[in-house]
Amino acid sequence: MAGLRFDLRDAPDGAAALRAEVRAFLAEHAPNFTPEIRARSWMGFDRDFTRAVGAKGWIGMCWPREFGGGEKSFLERNIVLEEMLAAGAPVGAHWIGDRQSGPLILRLGTEDQKRHFLPRIASGEYAFCIGLSEPDSGSDLASLRTKAEKVDGGWKLNGRKIWTTFGHLCDWMIALVRTSPAPEGGARHIGLSQVLVNLRAPGVHIRPIRDLVGEKGFNEITFDDVMLPEDALVGQEGAGWAQATSELAFERSGPDRYLSSHPLLEAAMVTLKQDGAAAPALGRQVARLWALRNMSVAVAGMLEDGQDPVRQAALVKDLGNDFEQALPNVVRDLIATEDMPEDMRRMHAYLTQIVPTFSLRGGTREIMRGIIARELGLR
């Protein structure tokens, strides 16, 4: 059960100063954050804001300077992420590029890919999305069927990705696709590759899917003989599964797995400030938040040390999702929705409808618990 062990991490040097700088920046922008923007958390998409964050050097913070990064530690980056989420800033236009696409390109990309993409992600120019799920492949991702065929001068892409967040607003996708058939009777994970897809390329058809709140957040993206250049491949041909799963610890342990509802908790603290009867329920939320933060920072420390805490990350995500998902209901037990101030009621309404996604995105609750169960030796 070594994979369930957490070692506490202390704050990095200069933490308070960095935090103060991020807070000052956010205070300038906060007047633009409507209740809906704050409630959307990292699902809020705002290119202008993202460019401003990029100009501060807070996208790709840990990457080498030659690629537009800041050579900061993972723990310093974590401070910036925490502050953005705590304030409900619209970080969606750079969240995926900073969290996943950029680190993947940095680790496995060619020199040319790194030179082209990383500085543009870091400046906020390029927004990335991830192409994993397909109409018939959700949790059973290895059953995916989108195919990139080797042709003269590159690859020909055909198939369909779905639930791609902000696909209609992004510039690039890193898609997991099949580049060779799975071996007869062998593991389906073999023969998958990761490819860079320019979402403006001919043959890419993007159909936004309206969500239950009435917003166009995710998409179905069809690839119809889309020509990809030779160098669209990221990393090794056929190793896409291992590459994609090695990023999971980065994807799953961050503050975006427990702070998605945080602006509502802050609003509740203000509204219920004088309500003695609310103290115990609020105290439990505070305690949980405190514990989750310690766990999440511990995982950031392990990542900083070059470990691959994929199981701890699944565990933090599972506990964190439970917490952020339960919050709207906890709050409405303390104050009736009709008694909430206007801003709080709007955040509450949005979150009530959207929290079911928290334990779906980035791997479902059941998948997270399956990973933990495997570590326990049950699978």
Binding site: L4, A16, V286
Partner: protein, 336 residues
């Protein structure tokens, strides 16, 4: 990160308890025996002074160093007052009283004293006032928690060896805070033990032709148990670290948050353990209950979840600003 010495101490205690505190011992202690052999084995490790500063004749470890050791005590449901001796010695030393040898316990003067009747010395607390009594100076009204651990009320019939006042950094709630911190780490340890038993059972007990742990319904429950166990351990360690940084009294927020977290975790974990063991886990014969009854009992000691939740909630409501800056500042704006 746990220091090397912390890991070593925990491993020593683990070995000693594996030999000296098996289920037969637990059973005898719950029936009222005093496990002299177990205590002697633990006393031989010389840990009473773990938290006592070196210049006061102790080992001079920090609270974070001792947390893994406390987890080990929980993992074995250690039927001796070693945690109490370690924390009691720390309290006495802080007040300038030389800690005694042997089994020591402490608690509020009017409260239940853990292992009181078995201790050779007891430190009684009235707020920040602390007085050290020899066993001969106390008479006991015997009681126990639902883990069948001795929890006795003291009546003073003699004179204290020494009396003093704890410094401000320890404060008037020192007894409560020490107890909450001890039990937090012990709960994390007892959860580890119950989880290991439940996982082992799930892998060996067969129904419908296969181990029940092959069923996803069981796997998912045990995953929740494991997650809560990790949360409990992190919470206890983080609270201990806060004491090292800020002193005991100023770490009340972290200790309270930890006690809420471990209490909720214990409730959830114990329920899952019993669900996995089904009827077998309810029997007196099976060892599971030695851990689950302690989990339930320790939730109450050092303040329950409800007690701390109200306090932490009130503290959060009274903040001049937002919650988030308060939480982050506690980690970052205090130099160790």
């Amino acid at each position: 990160m746990a220091s090397e010495i912390a890991t070593e101490l925990a491993e020593q205690a683990d070995r000693a308890l594996t030999d000296a505190a098996d289920v037969a011992v637990l059973r005898a202690v719950e029936a009222g025996d005093w496990p002299a052999t177990t205590w002697d084995a633990m006393a031989a490790l010389g840990l009473n002074g773990a938290l006592v500063p070196e210049d006061a004749g102790g080992v001079g470890l920090g609270f974070a160093d001792v947390a893994p050791l406390l987890e080990v005590l929980g993992r074995h449901a250690a039927p001796v007052p070693l945690a109490e001796s370690i924390f009691g010695s720390a309290l006495l030393a802080a007040a300038g009283i030389t800690p005694p040898e042997g089994a020591l316990s402490f608690g509020a003067r009017n409260g239940a004293i853990p292992w009181g009747r078995h201790a050779s010395h007891v430190a009684l607390l009235d707020g920040a006032r602390i007085a050290l009594y020899p066993a001969a100076a106390l008479a006991w009204e015997e009681g126990g928690n639902i883990g069948h651990e001795a929890r006795d009320h003291a009546r003073v019939i003699g004179t204290p060896i020494a009396e003093a006042v704890l410094p401000n950094g320890w404060g008037a709630e020192a007894g409560l805070l020490c107890t909450a911190l001890m039990r937090s780490a012990q709960i994390a340890g007892a959860m580890q033990a119950a989880l290991a038993l439940a996982v082992d059972h799930a892998n060996t007990r067969k129904q419908f032709g296969r181990p029940i742990g092959r069923f996803q319904a069981v796997q998912q429950q045990l995953a929740v148990f494991a997650a809560e166990t990790s949360a409990a351990s992190v919470a206890a360690a983080a609270a201990a670290r806060a004491v090292d940084r800020r002193g005991l009294a100023a770490a009340a927020f972290e200790i309270g948050c930890a006690k809420i977290t471990v209490g909720e975790a214990a409730t959830r974990g114990a329920a899952i353990a019993h669900q996995v063991f089904a009827a077998m886990g309810i029997t007196e014969e099976h060892q599971l209950h030695h851990f689950t009854r302690r989990l339930w009992a320790w939730r109450e000691e050092g303040g329950s979840e409800a007690f701390w939740a109200k306090r932490i909630g009130q503290e959060a409501q009274a903040l001049p600003g937002a919650l988030w800056p308060f939480i982050t500042a506690r980690e970052e704006e205090i130099t160790p």
